[in-house]
């Protein structure tokens, strides 16, 4: 059974087709890396998958979608806003409960953000913001992850930490990446996009770095 599915779907921007028509089926347990040059349509494909998804999906878009004036804690809490009654969310806005603080604390620690917990997102650096968006997705407990370049602003070791967390925590994931090494290390299926079409779709074992680099 597939977790995500696109069938002959295409996307247009200002009347011009930018992606597809293409079909893609993502099975449960698959960790897909979307690779391809910039402008090839990776972001559009992530969006399309999100729009067509059934059930709970965590999304880390390229522009992160954080609320700038809320704290790191609250932005992460928003990943589960649907699980509480309104009064509970309202009270959390004023003063968070111990329960959520205990739940969110460990994620912050793993991402090295504990000290920034109560800082407004607006005053964070690019890499820190990216980790907040990742933490929101991790905290949401969705079975499926869609992420668009979630480690583009992170340096070496941190990028590995985040990729490890993302691929371990979600049963199924589709992550757009421009770093081929990361794609090969953390994913088990590689989908390459070129000029709005799927140009490559293979299991990781059957690919080498040079195979992928031909896409660029």
């Amino acid at each position: 059974m597939s977790a995500l599915q696109l069938k002959d779907t295409s996307a247009a921007f200002k009347g011009k087709r930018v992606l597809g028509p293409l079909s893609l089926s993502v099975g449960k347990g698959e960790k897909i890396a979307l690779v391809g040059g910039s402008g090839a349509g990776k972001s559009t494909l992530i969006r399309l998958l999100y729009q067509h998804a059934q059930g709970r999906v965590a999304l880390v878009p390229q522009d992160l979608g954080l609320v700038q004036s809320l704290s790191v804690f609250h932005n992460i809490f928003m990943g589960r806003l649907n699980e509480h009654p309104t009064w509970y969310n309202l009270a959390t806005l004023v003063k968070p409960f111990q329960r959520e603080r205990n739940d969110i604390g460990p994620w912050l620690e793993k991402l090295g953000m504990t000290e920034k917990q109560w800082t407004a997102v607006a005053s964070l650096s690019g890499g820190q913001r990216q980790r907040v968006a990742v933490a929101r997705a991790l905290y949401s407990h969705a079975p499926v992850l869609l992420a668009d370049e979630p480690v583009s602003a992170l340096d070496g070791p941190l990028a590995h930490t985040v990729m490890g967390l993302l691929t371990d925590s979600f049963e199924t994931s589709v992550i757009a990446l421009h770093d081929v090494q990361l794609a090969l290390k953390y994913c088990n299926r590689i989908v390459g996009i070129a000029e709005g079409q799927i140009a490559l779709d293979e299991a990781r074992e059957r690919l080498t770095e040079t195979d992928i680099l031909q896409l660029y």
Binding site: H74, M78, L81, N82, H84
Partner: protein
């Protein structure tokens, strides 16, 4: 040489103002205007803070009416902003904000009498219309992305509180605080129609030539507005808003019979009330149009166009006073003081004072409108010009003004000026209450003669005129691609 569209529009408005000036009644009619003006400034220089014990009451009531009215207006405006996408709501808001606070007060006075509710509603209703528009614009600008990312099944209220409000909160707060300052001015002038705020005491001091008392009132008012950043703390706000309704004074009780009579008899056109048929109604209406509405509209438009251009001229002349690119700290400080006083004094109070000194004509109104609005725009443009980085070898003096600064700020200057066009017209209409023959004059006379049916039609016409000017102003701003955020 071909002219740019902005210059062409400026010249057109300048020409209209010159033509209006030719037909306008501008004269100083008092015997000794300069002596009176001198005595007034002596009063300001020798303020008497202890002449009566009502000074404290005047300030307290002014603040109480402002807080209660603005709080109520902001709350209702916020609720209206949530449904602002409906055309009916937008029209309703445009209509209620097109009617000036003083006109609302005059209407409510007829049936609520001197009850505090009159003053509170007179501020709250037009402010609700303005708040609704501005809040909805602010809310629309919030980043839509966080809303799209919320997990499925998130409640509407939770989504609103997390993904919409935080992004807008700063802007909403800044704008509301700014509006509160406007509310203090509105509250002050409500005294001129008999409510117990500063205007009431100012009018009685003037009529008895107690200039030192009037000076003390004005100085207290400036201090109140200038010190707002210190006493208006977010933490104290609930306290102020909670306490304000208890300091409105008792006024007079509402006679509910008057309320019923106002709606069922007073505002019904007299030919209908007296069964004079359609021909009677037509005669009544054409008499009203020819003898009151049209002269009122004519004078309102003429005065507005003159005041608009003088406002612009004053703003252009005044902004160098506070610009970083001119003068030393002393000149900037005194320039700032002048602009603070000019923009803190409500047009109505300025016009009232000048009218006492120079006698009734359009001149005091033009000067009052130009001083107040020119002060506001001059301040905004001056601040903006300070942010401009000039090259090290830029010219100095008049050349710097004419070649480096004015061309750079001219577009935002025009945007502000056109934005205030409608506000100037609304004020122009209201200045009629002081005896200048604009629409407010005919409205006030009709109310004095207890002909509320005529007054209501004239108020309606005034509102439509404002809405028309607002639409025209937006059209011109769009044509010239001028953008601005609301300032007042």
């Amino acid at each position: 040489m071909s002219l740019t569209p902005t210059v062409r529009v400026s010249l057109l408005f300048f020409a209209i103002a010159l033509a209006s000036l030719a037909v306008a009644d501008i004269a100083i009619t008092t015997a000794n205007p300069w002596r009176d003006l001198g005595r007034f400034f002596m009063g300001l220089a020798t303020p008497d803070f202890f002449s009566t014990d009502s000074l404290g009451t005047a300030i307290l009531r002014t603040v109480a009416f402002a807080f209660t009215g603005v709080a109520l207006g902001s709350l209702s405006g916020f609720i209206l902003a949530l449904v602002y996408r409906f055309r009916l709501v937008r029209t309703l808001c445009a209509f209620i904000r097109a009617i000036h606070e003083l006109f609302w007060a005059l209407i409510f006075l007829q049936f609520f009498g001197f009850h505090p509710l009159t003053g509170v509603l007179a501020i709250a209703i037009p402010y609700a219309g303005i708040f609704a528009k501005v809040y909805s614009e602010i809310l629309d600008e919030a980043d839509p992305e966080p809303r799209r990312l919320l997990p499925l099944g998130t409640g509407v209220i939770s989504a609103f509180l997390y993904a919409r409000i935080p992004d807008c909160w700063d802007q909403i707060r800044t704008y509301t605080a700014y509006r509160l300052e406007c509310g203090l001015r509105s509250s002050a002038i409500l005294g001129f129609v008999g409510l117990p705020t500063i205007g009431f005491y100012l009018e009685s001091s003037f009529s008895q030539s107690h200039y030192s008392e009037a000076g003390a009132l004005l100085i207290l008012f400036y201090v109140l507005i200038a010190t707002m950043p210190w006493w208006l703390r977010p933490k104290l706000l609930p306290l102020y808003v909670g306490a304000a309704p208890f300091f409105l004074g008792d006024g007079l009780p509402i006679v509910w019979g008057n309320v019923t009579r106002f709606f069922t008899e007073d505002i019904v056109p007299s030919p209908i009330r007296n069964d004079e048929g359609l021909s009677g109604l037509a005669a009544w209406f054409s008499d009203l149009m020819v003898n009151e509405a049209l002269p009122g509209i004519w004078n309102t438009v003429i005065l507005t166009q003159i005041a608009l251009v003088f406002t612009g001229l004053l703003a252009l002349l005044a902004f160098p006073l506070i610009s970083q690119h001119f003068g030393g700290p002393v000149r900037r400080a005194s320039g700032n003081l002048f602009l603070v006083i000019a923009r803190s004094t409500p047009e109505y109070i300025l016009a009232y004072i000048l009218l006492q000194l120079w006698g009734p004509s359009m001149l005091p109104a033009v000067v009052a409108l130009a001083l107040h609005n020119g002060g506001i725009i001059g301040h905004l443009i001056g601040r903006q010009s300070s942010g401009i980085k000039l090259r090290a070898d830029a010219s100095h003096g008049v050349n710097r003004y004419a070649f480096e600064l004015v061309p750079r700020v001219y577009r935002s200057f025009l945007a502000f000026l056109f934005y205030r066009w409608e506000i100037i017209m609304r004020e122009t209409a209201i200045l009629g209450i002081l005896g200048i023959a604009t629409l407010g004059f005919y409205i006030d006379s009709a109310i004095q003669e207890i002909r509320f049916d005529r007054a209501m039609v004239l108020i309606l016409i005034t509102a439509l005129l404002n809405i028309g000017i607002d639409a025209l102003s937006r059209y011109i701003r769009r044509k010239l691609a001028l953008q601005t955020m609301p300032t007042c």
